[in-house]
Amino acid sequence: MSEYRVQFEVFEGPLDLLLHLVRKQEVDIYQVNLTRIAADFLAYLGQMRDLDLEVAGEFVVMAANLLYLKSRELLPVDKQVVVQESVEDGEDPRWELIRRLVEYKKFKDAAGQLQTYEEHQALVYERRAARVELPSAPARGGVEASVFDLIGAVNEILKRFKNRDNVREIEADPHTVSEKLESLRALLLERSRVGFAELFLQARSRLEVVVTFLAVLELTRLRQVRLTQGAEFGEIEITAAPALTGEPEPPPAEIVPEAPTPAPLELPLSA
């Protein structure tokens, strides 16, 4: 069947072809002249054969059926033996064919409707909201801030420097991660709680912002500080963790204090 469709795509099957022929008669399905339809149908099959197209089994069966109906109609009414049968069967073969055609046509129309829906739906885009800005909520306990919250925050701060950056920055910049690390530690030992944005208030260059940020990340990684948010999207706070204040904590913390004097971090200078 599939190879048939490829070769002759106009009609999907005998019912489709019949519908087409009914339409050509320009009459309602119920009024269709079966004799003419049968003749048209056979003619069409003949054309297919002439074109060397394989005629699918379904078409042949339908052709036989039509020929039978046609032969019946050629007989005078009183000679139609079938009539009795049809009463017994409760089914007139002609009516049966028409019923199928009507039904098929409805599904064909429904398929057309589905196609419209398909086209329509391809043009419809659903909203996929980003996380909505929530007004600060009475959050309990504080939410742990994610790296993305941090990066987002840094990004905001970096924006402030976008226009300020200038050539001077190319000169040796005094800021290094280790230096920031130390000053952060000192600050936290002193105050135990610092606002994240506050750290950047004094920053004078993009580099310093980045360096400060890396220092915060590093301290987080070493579990020497904790980052919390009072609420989602709230201000991020940095607090000293036990590892920093000297209380017993897992190994990573113990390693860093021995840090040798580090060299400056190399950063590409945005020209």
Partner: protein
């Protein structure tokens, strides 16, 4: 708060949820959220009022909301697809949204045979392959495989007849693909589900007219699913024309 006010309030709450949600939401999900908000510490009177809402009320509010957008001249509306509510942009803005989001990740369009078969399955589910072939008059094997592969249909059981053939039905991906809220949203659903092809009173072909009218209706009724009940001749929605008293032959 009076009922009308509460209903309006509910509508806006649902609206805000659809706006904030990163995915479409079902009535059940929305109801859960309302319940949860009601139980929060310090929940307002309004919040508590929506604690255990009848899902029908939520449904009604969503439908009214959806109507609001039909009349508002905006670039989007509220729609229900596969039982889940969401904001969607209108098709006429697709060129710009597409420029931003890229072409929707949709497989190629369905072929006409696939659409026809899908229509048969959608309206007549659960339906066997034999029944589909009876209606379409052609083999449907390849098409069924394609539709299954695309997740639009699935096997839903076996028919209680000899050989216990597989029955097929549509999936929720089917509803999504066509943007339908649910199966009742199919066009002309009633008509197509019930096999309403009833023989006209004045008969189709010449000889049939001369018959003592067969209790043909009875035979036909056998084909009608039991649930449908007897088919009234007068209720026959005929496809597109008047039945004729004339013989087509002659």
């Amino acid at each position: 708060m009076d009922q009308q006010l509460l209903f309006t309030e509910l509508k806006y709450i649902l609206e805000s949820l659809l706006m904030a949600a990163p995915k479409p939401l079902s009535v059940t999900e929305l109801r859960e959220v309302l319940g949860k908000a009601a139980e929060e510490e310090g929940a307002s009177e309004a919040a508590r009022a929506f604690r255990k809402l009848d899902p029908k009320r939520i449904q009604a509010a969503l439908e009214e909301l959806s109507q609001d957008y039909v009349s508002a001249a905006r670039s989007y509306r509220v729609a229900c697809v596969a039982g889940a509510w969401q904001f969607v942009t209108l098709p006429e803005f697709a060129p710009w949204v597409r420029a931003f989001l890229g072409v929707k990740n949709r497989p190629t369009r369905l072929s006409l045979p696939a659409l026809e078969t899908l229509a048969v399955i959608a309206y007549r589910q659960p339906v066997t392959r034999a029944e589909m072939e009876q209606i379409r008059g052609v083999a449907v094997d390849g098409v069924i495989a394609t539709l299954k592969e695309r997740g639009l249909i699935d096997e839903v059981g076996r028919a209680d007849v000899v050989g216990r053939p597989m029955q097929y039905g549509t999936t929720s991906a089917f509803l999504e693909y066509f943007g339908l809220a649910h199966l009742d949203g199919l066009p002309a659903a009633d008509e197509l589900r019930r096999i309403p092809v009833v023989r006209p009173e004045s008969v189709v072909t010449a000889d049939a007219a001369q018959l003592p009218l067969p209790h043909g209706v009875a035979a036909q009724a056998a084909e009608v699913p039991a649930t449908t009940g007897p088919v009234e001749q007068s209720a026959a929605p005929v496809l597109e024309a008047e039945p004729t008293s004339e013989s087509p032959r002659s």
